[in-house]
């Protein structure tokens, strides 16, 4: 294991920023590990839960606004397939859906130009297929990596996996952290690991999957979020979708507040990706209002927010058709992905 030279790394990032004009955000260079920041994290679980429980009742988005918000949500979906039985054909079908997520007649009726999902998210072996399938669409391919989902394969192979996926054309790498570093409070080890993953990603953006369902407490979620951001994560992400508990509003609130804190301190905006368990259009709206309330409109962009979801899109399509026609829709009226 090696820790890259901080200064050189940071310098490298400045160049990187220039090479990625489509990215509006200055990329987070990370900072030295500050254990004081880690140690002062406080999360009151009951209060966090109360905020989340009342939020859906505090913000309501209706009619044209709801349609627009749902369309926005689609542009933030990392359309995902992470199954053992994935094949090239399955991935190509998913990519086609990513490029045309909503029926053209519905978009016309809504007066909307074509939109795409935020990305397609696959395992390493499917990266090449996806990159090919998405050629010309502008949709990036995200690869889950580093021994996803448990992150317990040999360390050098985890690093190598990132290299391979980047080489195969992945523009985004979703890494999994070593949960044991969080559970044992070994923040230095977590930082070093994340730092190297980030360095290995090069120009590809890195999302740090915290696997929040396995971290034991919201306070640990806050601490791990801070460490990963300090180590240069572009996004922090809740879960692999494989844990028994995945994205929840309380976990999201804690991570969003960590992002806000990091932004206030450093001026760098870190992205957020809840993954797993978000399958209803209504839930998506609540997440978007949570982002808007806690971080502001700037974060309501695919550059800073993604849903990791596979079935959410289908529900949104049905809601959009209902909005256009006034009739409740059926899943078979929308193309599968």
């Amino acid at each position: 294991m090696s820790t890259p030279d901080m200064t050189a790394h940071a310098t490298g990032l400045v160049t990187e920023k220039a090479q990625l004009p489509q990215v509006h955000e200055p990329r987070n260079p990370g900072m030295e590990l500050d254990l004081d920041i880690v140690e002062r994290q406080r999360v009151n679980t009951s209060a966090v839960e109360r905020r989340c429980a009342t939020l859906p009742g505090r913000r309501s988005v209706k009619k044209d606004h709801q349609a627009a918000w749902l369309l926005k949500a689609i542009t933030m979906i990392d359309l995902t397939t992470l199954a053992g039985d994935d094949t090239a054909g399955r991935v190509r079908r998913l990519c086609a859906k990513a490029a045309h997520p909503v029926r053209a007649d519905l978009l016309d009726a809504l007066g909307m130009p074509a939109i795409t999902t935020g990305a397609v998210c696959v395992y390493h072996d499917m990266v090449e297929t996806a990159v090919e399938a998405l050629d010309g669409t502008g949709i990036p391919v995200a690869a889950v990596s580093t021994g996803f989902p448990a992150g317990l394969s040999p360390y050098h192979l985890r690093v190598k996996e990132i290299e391979e996926s980047v080489k195969a054309g992945a523009k985004e790498i979703d890494i999994v952290i070593s949960r044991r570093h969080v559970l044992t409070g070994n923040w230095q080890a977590l930082y070093d690991e994340m730092r190297e993953f980030r360095a290995t990603c090069g120009e590809a953006h890195v999302k740090a999957i915290l696997a929040t369902g396995e971290l034991g407490s919201l306070r640990n979620v806050a601490k791990a979020s801070q460490v990963c951001m300090m180590a240069g994560a572009d996004f922090i992400k809740t879960s692999t979708g494989k844990e028994s508990v995945n994205a929840t509003l309380p976990v999201s609130l804690v991570m969003l507040r960590a992002i806000r804190d990091y932004y206030t301190r450093t001026g760098y905006r870190i992205g957020y990706k809840p993954a797993g368990g978000i399958s209803k259009a209504k839930d998506a709206l609540v997440y978007l209002s949570l982002i808007k309330e806690e971080l502001g409109d700037h974060w309501l962009s695919p550059h800073l927010f993604r849903f990791g979801a596979s079935s959410l899109l289908g529900d949104i399509e049905r809601q959009l058709e209902h909005h256009v026609t006034g009739q409740y829709s059926a899943s078979w009226r929308h193309a599968i992905g």
């Binding site: 406080r42 009151n44 209060a47 966090v48 606004h65 926005k72």
Partner: protein, 776 residues
């Protein structure tokens, strides 16, 4: 705005709740409403307007009640009461029906409330109406259990209930549900700004099968309230509202024999320690002070932040306030609605204009035109600032800083009020240390404005007295069964023509701060036996002696912190030492009153027994962990009231012991004024106290004229409660003078009745509800 434009801006847009059903209900009522008396709506009379504060539109025309209307309502309530009180299980079914009907008409109630009051629909829908249904369910259960669980208690009779405009329907539920559950009947007056949901409630009373006259609702302004307060046919007044009006009600009911509970204003502290979850504490403030536009008696309106985090905290708070949405209360995405009336808006504006300059005023969002006031923070204030002391009753938070936990408590308690408090820290030791030290009826740990029917709510100091909710709330609507008998004035024995001196002259002094003290005035009075023997002299205490005794009692604060076991030991020891001198006391009693030896011995025995009883109670008046609907506990802790002044009846020894024993058992300090006619047993008793490890100042004994001392005692601002069992008519003066600091009073109104120990203990304690949500 096109979908594409919204897609780019990501605005919320509007999400208005439809007012159609509620407006249709008003139209069905002809937009003119009479009152609900004897189970029927009366014809509309002299009308006044109900307005929507958000728009200024007239919603309906309501009736200003006349004397005749109030008479009719009280008569209907009286007529219905005895039958209603008979069957608790039948009452339970009616209350259950009310709960169900509130739920069935939930949205109609919510929309009507928002139209009438201006509060956001989110609050009326998710909080007010939900709590209303819960309150009726809970008290349906209390009616069901009354016979088994409250043996020996009965309804008070007819209750006059006057409620405020900030939670119109919820306050109605808090008043009506426990009252009728316990077999009382009610005459309720909603605030004149907000009567509509009460009138809708009248309709569901009919649907629920509430018998005629059990619930009566009269409408109108303060004049109608006054008619209820002064009505001779009313047995109890329950009032929620301003401290100023509460004080007037206390004065108006003084000496009338009416029971009274008051839930008044507040300036509740919101304490944030440096180890708190700061973002959650800031979010908690949204619920504390911007909830219901800050028009909440228990609003966390006084922010106290530990100095080291204050700058960061305030910056984040102002940023959070910038996200609050203020406007149309019917919009489902609105955080802050309309102020209830332009009069209240002007009051808020005037107070901020007057006191804002003492600090820095932050108003990050602008209020729309009309009856709206923007969320406001006034930072950098000191405890002496006007806005730190005065209740604003609007969305205005004021703040200052503190250095240490001890200083936080000191600043928090530096107020005339004592309703609620919030404590934010992640340290359970700190939270549970601070909560009992705060002078308040309710403490929320890491939260704010949590309410439930099972948890007591109410204040101390000028926030009023009495609790609503829980078993403790039922004390306000019941009394011990059984008849009271008139107090017979004791006979003072006059100086005979020829004085016979009994033994060596012994000087009976006052007992103040653990020392025998000569009366400040330097006068004493000869006490004779019925047969004309000079038994000795008793001191004539004056107002200065009361002052000295209160000072001594207030400085004996350690007694409240002594363990219950320790207090029990002291009480047992007092009993033991009294027992050793039983004969001497019996003789004294015999000489003073002329009673028989057997009766005198019996009184001493009863006194010893009473001391043992309350010694036993010291460590057995358990608090409770209330099953509130959340992950957490609401602890009901019995705390001493503080310093209690008591005027004893004319049993020379028992009159004294009966008040002292329960009071000091619960950790209070007492100033007992002995029987005016027979004071010398009480003065003998201080020697027993001296030999029994009772700390100085815990019990102070005065002798002298009750009529004169009552006024000073009841008016003293540093006395927390006054009791009177005196044979002198001092009940009225005590209740009247108590209005100054709104101390609790417990007076006999010239009647004598044997109270069970539970009543004594309830009078000797304040229930503090400490909400402790938890979760990792």
């Amino acid at each position: 705005m096109s979908v594409k434009e919204i897609f780019d801006t990501m605005d919320y847009g509007t999400a208005p709740e439809s007012a159609a059903e509620a407006l249709a209900w008003l139209v069905d009522g002809g937009d003119r409403f009479g009152m609900f008396i004897g189970g029927k709506m009366t014809e509309p009379g002299h009308i006044f307007e109900a307005k929507n504060p958000a728009t200024g539109e007239v919603l309906a025309h309501l009736t200003q009640a006349t004397e005749a209307d109030v008479d009719a309502a009280v008569a209907a309530a009286r007529k219905a009461q005895s039958k209603w009180a008979k069957d608790g299980k039948a009452r339970a079914k009616v209350l259950y029906a009310l709960a169900r009907l509130v739920q069935k008409h939930a949205r109609l109630f919510a929309v009507l409330e928002t139209l009438d009051n201006g509060k956001p629909i989110r609050e009326s829908r998710d909080i007010d109406v939900a709590l209303v249904a819960r309150h009726f369910y809970y008290h349906s259960g209390m009616a069901q259990l009354m016979d088994e669980e409250l043996p020996g208690r009965e309804a008070l009779g007819v209750c006059g209930q006057i409620i405020p405009w900030n939670f119109p329907l919820l306050m109605l539920a808090w008043k009506v549900a426990p009252a009728i559950a316990m077999g009382n009947t009610v005459v309720l007056k909603p605030a004149e700004y907000t009567s509509l949901t009460a009138l809708l409630f009248a309709q569901i009373c009919q649907e629920a099968g509430v018998p005629k006259g059990v619930v009566n609702i009269v409408t109108g302004d303060g004049a109608v309230g006054e008619m209820i307060v002064t009505h001779p046919g009313v047995d109890k007044i329950a009032f929620t509202g301003s401290t100023a009006v509460g004080r007037r009600i206390r004065e108006a009911t003084a000496g009338s024999g009416k029971s009274l509970t008051l839930e008044l204003g507040g300036k509740s502290p919101y304490i944030v320690f440096e180890d708190a979850d700061i973002d959650s504490a800031i979010e908690g403030l949204v619920d504390a002070i911007f909830f219901n536009q800050g028009q909440v008696c228990c609003a966390g309106s006084r922010l106290l932040v530990q100095e080291g985090i204050a700058e960061d905290f305030h910056a984040r708070l102002v940023a959070r306030m910038g996200n609050l949405r203020i406007g149309n209360p019917l919009d489902k995405s609105i955080d802050v609605g309309a102020i209830v009336d332009p009069v209240q808006l002007q009051r808020i504006e005037a107070l901020v204009a007057k006191g804002g300059a003492e600090g820095t005023v932050h108003q990050p969002v602008k209020a729309p035109e009309g009856c709206f006031y923007p969320p406001t923070l006034v930072s950098g204030l000191e405890p002496s600032s006007l806005l730190m002391q005065e209740e604003i009753f609007g969305p205005v938070l004021v703040s200052t800083t503190f250095r240490t936990p001890a200083e936080a408590v000191q600043v928090a308690n530096n107020t005339r009020y004592g309703l609620a408090a919030s404590v934010w820290t992640e340290n359970v030791n700190l939270a549970l240390d601070i909560a009992p030290k705060l002078v308040a009826g309710v403490v929320w740990v890491n939260g704010s404005n949590m309410f439930d029917a099972a948890a007591g709510f109410g204040g101390v100091r000028e926030s009023g007295f009495g609790r609503e909710g829980g078993w403790e709330g039922l004390m306000a609507y019941t009394k011990p069964a059984g008849k009271a008998t008139p107090v017979k004035p004791a006979k003072t024995h006059v100086k005979p023509d020829e004085v016979e001196v009994l033994g060596l002259d012994r000087t009976a002094k006052l007992y103040i701060g653990g020392k025998q003290a000569r009366p400040d005035g330097g006068y004493s009075q000869a006490i004779y036996s019925p047969k004309g023997k000079l038994l000795g002299h008793s001191s004539i205490a004056s107002r200065k002696d009361i002052r000295n005794a209160v000072e001594a009692a207030q400085s004996a604060k350690g007694w409240a912190k002594a363990t219950a076991h320790n207090r029990a030991q002291v009480l047992y020891f007092v009993g033991e030492n009294l027992s050793a001198r039983a004969d001497e006391f019996a003789t004294r009693i015999r000489y003073l009153t002329g009673t028989t030896e057997a009766k005198a011995q019996a009184e001493v025995a009863e006194a010893i027994d009473t001391l043992f009883t309350y010694a036993a109670w010291c460590d057995k008046l358990d608090g409770a962990a209330k099953p509130v609907p959340m992950r957490g506990v609401a602890l009901a802790m019995n705390e001493p009231v503080g310093v209690i002044g008591a005027f004893c009846d004319d049993r020379p020894l028992m009159g004294l012991i009966e008040v002292i024993a329960p009071a000091i058992a619960m950790g209070n300090r007492m100033i007992a004024v002995a029987s005016e006619a027979y004071p010398l047993a009480a003065t003998d008793f201080y020697q027993v106290l001296d030999t029994s490890d009772v700390p100085a100042g815990v019990v102070n004994i005065l002798t002298g004229p009750h009529a004169e001392l009552a006024k000073t005692m009841a008016g003293h601002m540093d006395v927390e409660a006054v009791w009177s069992f005196s044979s002198t008519e001092i009940s009225a003066v005590i209740e009247k003078e108590s209005a100054g600091n709104l101390k609790r009073t417990w007076v006999n109104n010239g009647l004598s009745r044997a109270y069970p120990a539970r009543d004594w203990l309830a009078q000797a304690t304040e229930v503090k509800t400490i909400w402790v949500p938890y979760g990792e």
